[in-house]
């Protein structure tokens, strides 16, 4: 698994030093807090991805497998622009704009012709887009991955509680994602455009008949989704390597999230994303030890990686079996 390996590497680079082993209970508590925050951070990142996916699905009824490609493009744009400008923030803003633009172009040229078609057509067409994007990236940036170095001010550990340090960059991800989630909530629930988006989700024909430019609205929503995916990609980029196919693993996670949360529901996506992020991260961190107490150590070390990778799929399967519509189905349908 690419993610877990690079996560591990990243953790050793980014994370603060592990405290001394003499306070055993305290060490364990710190580890739990740190892993919990890592899970929260990962979950919020997943939310950014899932929010765009669920918006596009809920409003345009489009299954977009290429959403992960937009995430990847966000990361590649960020690595390129940061290297060009030499400024992390400026590069990030440029990358965000580029992904937004790419999303709008993509919607305008191809995806808008897929609305109203069978879901299977969406799967096939966007599968083709994934092939295209992966290959285009290989052509432009080469097969080797890129690194996105962090500026010095983001690499220092920050004291979140007295005695508990957490990497500033991961903290920044949490803050940015929470702010974006809040803005998204306010935007969808409190503004006129948001009202139109919600109206579009509940009855497409009616809002078109009322004289709303539905095509423009769709393009806007898709661009927004693309920008959110790009934001997730560029924020994840310094933690993982920027590489081809990085969007595919995480796309599946995002799908798992919107299925658990209920397709079309942003609130559901938010809660499910945090849930999945924490379960996945904590599972990877603590399941091996837990298993070792129950099984022989050889059996545990074989079973643990597979089991912790399976964990969220297991959760999803259980959720779907118990509540086939997801945990928080969009009540506007």
């Amino acid at each position: 698994m690419v993610r877990s390996v690079s996560n591990h590497v990243a953790r050793s680079i980014l994370s603060c030093d592990t405290p001394q082993p003499e306070h055993d209970l305290r060490t364990r508590m710190l580890l739990v807090v740190e892993q919990f925050l890592n899970g929260l951070q990962f979950g919020l990142l997943l939310f950014l991805l899932a929010a765009g996916l669920t918006l596009v699905f809920g409003i345009m009824d489009l299954v977009n497998l290429a959403h992960g490609s937009l995430y990847m493009m966000g990361a590649y744009f960020a690595a390129t622009f940061v290297a060009w400008t030499g400024n992390f923030l400026l590069g990030a803003v440029l990358a965000l704009a580029a992904t937004l633009l790419l999303g709008i172009v993509l919607e305008f040229t191809t995806l808008r012709h897929l609305y109203g078609r069978d879901h299977l057509d969406h799967v096939l067409a966007t599968f083709g887009l994934i092939l295209f994007f992966n290959e285009a990236v290989r052509l432009i940036w080469g097969p080797a991955g890129l690194a996105l170095p962090l500026p010095a001010w983001l690499t220092v550990p920050v004291a979140i509680l007295p005695g508990i340090y957490y990497p500033a960059y991961r903290l920044a991800i949490i803050v940015v994602a929470l702010v974006v989630a809040l803005l998204l909530y306010l935007g969808v629930m409190r503004t006129r455009v948001g009202m139109l988006i919600r109206a579009g989700a509940s009855n497409r024909e009616m809002i078109g008949a009322l004289g709303i430019n539905i095509k423009l609205l769709y393009t806007l929503v898709f661009g927004l989704g693309a920008a959110l995916a790009g934001l997730a990609g560029l924020m994840q980029a310094p933690i993982l390597t920027v590489q081809i196919g990085m969007g595919e693993n995480i796309l599946i996670l995002a799908f798992v999230i919107i299925v658990i949360g209920g397709i079309g529901s942003i609130r559901g996506a938010f809660l499910a994303a945090i849930f999945v992020g924490i379960i996945d991260t904590m599972g990877r961190a603590f399941l091996p030890n837990l298993l070792r107490q129950m099984l022989s150590s050889a059996a545990a070390s074989t079973a643990a990686p597979a089991l912790s990778s399976m964990l969220i799929y297991l959760v999803m399967a259980i959720v779907l079996v118990v509540r086939p519509e997801g945990l928080f189905p969009a009540n506007r349908r």
Binding site: M1, T110, L124, F132, N134, E248, A306, M310
Partner: protein, 315 residues
């Protein structure tokens, strides 16, 4: 479906004839590669045909069909590793394992519909993928080499290229025949009826889920056969055969060829894999052409290649 001479049937017949005669061409021209390539194509066509049974006729959009390829393959690989080389043991185990897996995930997945079904089958396939990655004893992530192909006594020698090719082709044609019989049976009619209008079928009194589940298990078992073949063909099985992009490939083959048409997936598999092969000979960046091509098929050629041929006939 009436049997008559139209463009679809003509193409299907020509394709079958071509596949049957291929080893002769390979022998005459000394081109061994083409036989190897087509063995792979025939095996994946078998997988695509099995997917077509649930997707095209049953309306169940499984995005996790590659899991059976892995299960069938690992059944052969693991038994071979443990010293059970007989194909008379390996193949039944591969089929049974696939059937049991299909029964379990089918019973759970068929509670959902539409996109949820696509996603839950995908999730189960990913789980199978991670289980295989965790099999440290059998190679884990790196996969498992099958040092000896399945042994069928004196009956057939799988190490002979031509014999193996004909075995694969016989399996493919056998499965296509079986699907033809299934689809035109009472059972097949019920399953297709459920695709068209579930509420009405239930009102008549057919237990929807039970019929779907049986269909799902049949399809999975057929694909498990393809998996066992594939492991023999590559002498290797790894978690990568279960990765979700492979399930996507199978879906592409079915849709490209023509969903719900008997020979559609065969045509689709041949077209897709040949195109992949040809493009990769022209340019290293073959997917740059393949991707947009798929998009064009979706946008302008509904019903895939068989759909185009059908229109040719009518127009």
């Amino acid at each position: 479906m009436k049997d008559k001479l139209n463009a679809r049937n003509l193409v299907s017949a020509l394709l079958v004839a071509g596949l049957l005669l291929l080893p002769l061409y390979s022998q005459a021209s000394g081109n061994v590669f083409v036989l190897t390539l087509f063995t792979r194509i025939v095996i994946l066509a078998l997988a695509a045909v099995s997917l077509n049974l649930i997707m095209g006729y049953g309306g169940m959009m499984s995005f996790g069909h590659a899991a059976y390829l892995g299960i069938g393959g690992y059944a052969v690989g693991i038994l071979a590793q443990e010293g059970f080389g007989s194909g008379f043991l390996q193949f039944p185990v591969a089929l049974a394992a696939s059937a049991i897996y299909a029964l379990v995930i089918g019973a759970l997945s068929l509670r959902t519909r539409g996109v949820y079904f696509i996603m839950i089958t995908l999730a189960f396939a990913q789980m199978a993928y991670y289980v295989a990655s965790g099999l440290a004893r059998y190679g884990g992530d790196d996969g498992l080499t099958v040092y000896k192909r399945s042994d069928f006594g004196g009956l057939i020698n799988l190490s002979s290229r031509t014999q193996f090719y004909y075995l694969c082709l016989a399996c493919l044609l056998g499965v296509v025949f079986l699907i033809w019989r299934i689809v035109n049976s009472r059972f097949g009619m019920v399953v297709q009826g459920l695709r068209s209008n579930e509420a009405r079928m239930q009102a008549i009194g057919f237990p929807a889920t039970r019929y779907r589940l049986v269909c799902f298990v049949i399809s999975g078992t057929m694909c498990g056969l393809a998996g066992a073949m594939l492991a023999n063909n590559t002498d290797f099985v790894s978690p990568a055969v279960m990765y979700w992009t492979r399930s996507g490939d199978l879906m592409v083959m079915v849709i490209l060829g023509g969903m719900g048409v008997l020979f559609g997936p065969v045509v689709g598999a041949v077209a897709y894999l040949l195109l992949e092969e040809l493009l990769s000979q022209v340019t290293e960046y073959w997917a740059l052409i393949m991707g947009p091509l798929l998009l064009l098929v979706v946008l302008f050629a509904r019903g895939g290649i068989m759909g185009l041929l059908g229109r040719l006939n009518r127009g």
